[in-house]
């Protein structure tokens, strides 16, 4: 599209603030590490590690972003993930890993359909419904596990699960290919921002080197983010998702099936939570009934850091992932640099509020660009058309 770019807006705090925040934080942590004589903080291994730690929250955050764009809310994701992990760990020894994983995700989707149906067809607020399922599903996990940790004890199944979660995937050539695709697209469609993204990806790949590998969940996160991003950006479904959140009544009166889109968001959110639960179960081959408690708030915090509006109609999955990386960089930095874990929650909370403040105060620059073209109208005669 021959759309001119508003550079001030694109690189303003509102649009790009979360990228700056991540870069500043990384630079700060690197400087502290250096001054204390610790190994290089910005090593590819450590960065890969951060992404790995953020991957579960990132996967749930991407789906949560879609949810928030449609104007709804899902508090139950962490409980649903724990339920999926419990189903996986409970069933895997008897029916094998692939079937158990399928059952776990189907269970999660069932919760999503329940959430969505109650919200859409009974008309209860999503916050209340999912607060209910948050508690109820956690209770179900306790019932299923009988309050104890479950473990997979069949070695062959455990092996499969570990392979699904911990395989190291070399990404050098894939990253280079992706960067090249972005650059080619940028050149073809004349989109300088895509070129910038391509250069960043390419440079990171070259810096990391040919032997660089990441854990499988990082790849799952990247593929899922890419797929959702593409759907939101390039498809009619994507636009309708934004439309449903921006003005549900206008969308309905434009012939859009609002119920289907809102229900779909709940299903996507729960399915993503189910997948994250499967990854979590595979990571340890075990499930503790209180696992992932409170993670739903981290997921929502990631989306808010990424600038997603709680009012619906706006949001970007890419920035949600960056938001998740920001949160986990904080966690990782506190651990690696031993900065005193007691301050971690305080700092994380302050960062979320500061981000929301920047989005609110620095926001709406686009609105300020008033349309001044509307002057006195010309008033031709109605009669001349006849």
């Amino acid at each position: 599209m021959t759309r001119s770019i508003d550079w001030r807006r694109t690189f303003g705090l509102r649009e790009a603030g979360v990228y700056y925040a991540l870069l500043i934080l990384l630079a700060l942590l690197a400087a502290i590490a250096h001054s204390r004589g610790l190994p290089n903080y910005l090593s590819p291994q450590n960065l890969g590690n951060i992404v790995y730690q953020a991957s579960l929250v990132g996967i749930m955050g991407v789906a949560m972003t879609v949810m928030l764009i449609t104007g709804a809310f899902d508090l139950s994701v962490a409980s649903v993930a724990a339920l999926a992990a419990a189903v996986l760990v409970g069933l895997a020894p008897s029916i094998g890993f692939p079937l158990a994983a399928g059952a776990a995700i189907i269970t999660a989707i069932a919760v999503g359909i329940f959430n969505g149906a109650v919200v859409q067809f009974v008309g209860i607020n999503a916050f209340i419904v999912t607060l209910g399922t948050l508690t109820a599903v956690r209770g179900l996990v306790l019932v299923l596990t009988d309050g104890r940790s479950l473990m997979v004890e069949r070695p062959d199944v455990l092996q499969q699960m570990l392979a699904f979660e911990s395989t190291r995937v070399p990404i050098f050539w894939a990253a280079l290919l992706f960067a090249a695709t972005l650059l080619a697209l940028a050149a073809w469609k004349r989109r300088p921002l895509d070129a910038l993204a391509g250069i960043v990806v390419g440079a990171l790949a070259l810096l990391a080197g040919r032997d660089f590998t990441v854990a499988a969940p990082v790849v799952y996160l990247a593929l899922f983010t890419l797929a959702v991003w593409a759907v939101l950006r390039f498809t009619v479904i994507g636009r309708r998702i934004y439309a449903v959140g921006g003005n549900a009544e206008a969308a309905r009166l434009s012939g859009i099936n609002v119920h289907a889109y809102k229900l779909g968001a709940f299903v996507l959110s729960s399915a993503a939570a189910g997948f994250a639960g499967v990854l979590f179960g595979c990571r340890l081959g075990a499930i503790n009934p209180t696992a992932l408690q409170g993670t739903e708030l981290t997921v929502i915090a990631a989306a808010i850091l990424g600038g997603t509006s709680l009012l619906g109609g706006a949001g970007s999955v890419l920035k949600t992932v960056i938001g998740a990386l920001l949160l986990f960089t904080l966690t990782n930095g506190f651990n690696v640099l031993d900065l005193g874990a007691s301050y971690q929650g305080l700092i994380e909370g302050a960062v979320v509020i500061a981000a929301a403040a920047i989005y609110t105060v620095g926001g709406d620059r686009r609105r300020a660009r008033r349309a001044t073209v509307d002057t006195a109208p010309q008033a031709p005669a109605v009669a001349e058309a006849g």
Binding site: R240, A251, S254, P380, V382, A385
Partner: protein, 496 residues
């Protein structure tokens, strides 16, 4: 007239922080006991002027003299305490509170409601013709009644000057008449009323003096008695305009394109049957609450409770907006901002909303938006302008443009010209004729009976959710149509 004016503005200016000048020197005098009309096209500066007078935004330059003293209100409360009450066009009422509590919102004091306050509210309500129950929840009331609540709320502070921003825009005939009576009564009591309206006839009938704004300047200030509608319209538009004029169109006599059979919705719509042929413009006349919007929503499948059948080109369509759209039915709803467009999306995106398919085709959509901007004379910087930033008339054109696809065969228009200045209104009415000439069947709901008479081929009259008659616009006049629509027994007469 040596008496000093109640309110006098000299060279009032307002420049927004981004450099846009909304007011470029407005002079205005409002006398006590008079009704002063304020007119102007959308974007001429009326709303800004009202906000400055209400104390909601500060002026950048010029003087405000109020009761002989220079004033500069810094907040709405100060203006209100000084004796200026403002009723905004988009009624800021609390929908979850009762009428009484909304009227008492600004009252100080300890108790939530006391006997004296209730009596005072009841007196004010009575002076308005008692159009509402004091204990009704505002959110349950139809929009016209909410407007009356807002008027009542403004009167609670016993103001010397009442500013009304298009109070009648959403009202039907009898409720308008109530507002007119109220305005005359207030003027009779020695209060001044600054009355903003798009309706020239009510300005001429109601006001003593008129000020016309154009591009932030007062271009006309005169006694109403010395003016006529044409002169005022010319001042608004900046050049002479022709008044709406009926044109005889060729009657189409083909088969029914839209056939509505026994369409009904409990509590809203009695079983209704009618049909419209391609190329025909069918007007729907009715007072507020007569079921006009409900009829269109039922046809469009947007009313889940509706029963009956709607046939388009002989095929029955399902009771779902998506099914209606697929069959070529399009609805331009009454409340643009809440139902028509998505304010955070661009013109191109809004126009592309009903499009089917999988992938977004940015270039095609952009071209379609540019074509619509040219074709419908939408005043916007480009296709990427946010619809929320456009003025009412231009946003409405975007909502209409959304449906101008080859698929659309039946166009349902619900008050397409409400709150729109005269230039854009003429554009839209001309467009409606053009679309009908292309073979679309058009249902046009409008509170402007004058519009219905000018553009439609026949008029169905709705009352209390049922079609009570049909009128031929060539033979009936506005008064006759009002009589048909309001019936023999006027409901307002029941009030004591």
């Amino acid at each position: 007239m040596v008496e000093a004016p109640l309110l006098q503005l000299r060279g009032l200016e307002k420049v927004w922080p981004n450099g846009t000048a909304a007011l470029r020197g407005v002079d205005l005098k409002v006398r006590a006991g008079s009704v002063h009309g304020l007119l102007g096209a959308n974007g001429a500066g009326k709303s800004t002027l009202i906000k400055v007078l209400a104390g909601a935004i500060p002026a950048s330059g010029g003087d405000i003299t109020w009761r002989g003293q220079t004033e500069r209100w810094t907040n709405p409360r100060a203006a209100r305490a000084g004796g200026i009450a403002t009723i905004y066009q988009h009624i800021p009422l609390v929908p979850t509170l009762s009428v009484l509590e909304n009227m008492l919102l600004e009252q100080a004091g300890g108790w939530r409601i006391d006997r004296a306050a209730r009596d005072r509210a009841a007196t004010v309500a009575l002076s308005l013709g008692d159009p509402f129950d004091l204990d009704a929840i505002v959110g349950d009331l139809p929009i016209g009644t909410r407007q009356m609540v807002a008027v009542a709320q403004g009167l609670m502070s016993d103001p010397a000057l009442l500013i009304m921003d298009e109070p009648t825009a959403s009202l039907a005939g009898d409720e308008r008449e109530q507002v007119y009576r109220t305005i005359r009564r207030l003027a009779g009591e020695g209060r001044a009323v600054l009355f903003v309206s798009h309706f020239l006839d009510e300005i001429v009938a109601l006001t003593d003096e008129v000020t016309v704004l154009r591009d932030g300047r007062a271009v006309l200030g005169a006694r109403t008695a010395d003016l006529d509608e044409a002169a005022i319209a010319a001042a608004i538009a900046g050049r002479a305009v022709t008044v709406l004029e009926r044109v005889e169109r060729q009657r189409s006599t083909g088969e029914a394109l839209l056939d509505v059979r026994n369409l009904t919705s409990p509590g809203k719509l009695a079983p209704t049957s009618f049909s419209a042929t391609g190329g025909e413009i069918v007007g729907i006349a009715g007072m507020l609450g007569s079921g006009r919007s409900e009829l269109l929503h039922a046809i469009f499948g947007a009313d889940p409770a509706a029963r009956g059948s709607v046939l388009v080109g002989g095929e029955q369509i399902g009771c779902e907006p998506a099914a209606a759209v697929a069959a070529g039915v399009a609805l331009v709803p009454e409340d643009r901002a809440a139902q028509g467009f998505i304010s955070g999306m661009t013109i191109a995106e809004n126009i592309a909303l009903p499009h089917e398919g999988w992938l977004i085709a940015p270039r095609r959509e952009h071209d379609a938006a540019i074509a619509a901007i040219d074709d419908l004379a939408i005043k916007a910087p480009d296709a990427d302008a946010l619809v929320g930033e456009l003025s009412g008339g231009n946003a409405q054109k975007v909502v209409i443009a959304k449906w101008l696809t080859p698929r659309t065969r039946v166009l349902l228009l619900d008050e397409p010209t409400a709150g729109i200045d005269i230039g854009a209104r003429t554009d839209i009415l001309r467009l409606i004729r053009r679309l009908a000439d292309k073979g679309l069947a058009v249902l046009l709901v409008s509170s402007e009976f004058e519009e219905l008479l000018a553009v439609t081929d026949r008029i169905l009259v709705l009352r209390d959710g049922a079609i009570v008659g049909e009128a031929d616009p060539a033979t009936v006049d506005e008064a006759g149509l009002i009589q048909l629509a309001s019936g023999t027994q006027s409901r307002t007469e029941i009030a004591p």
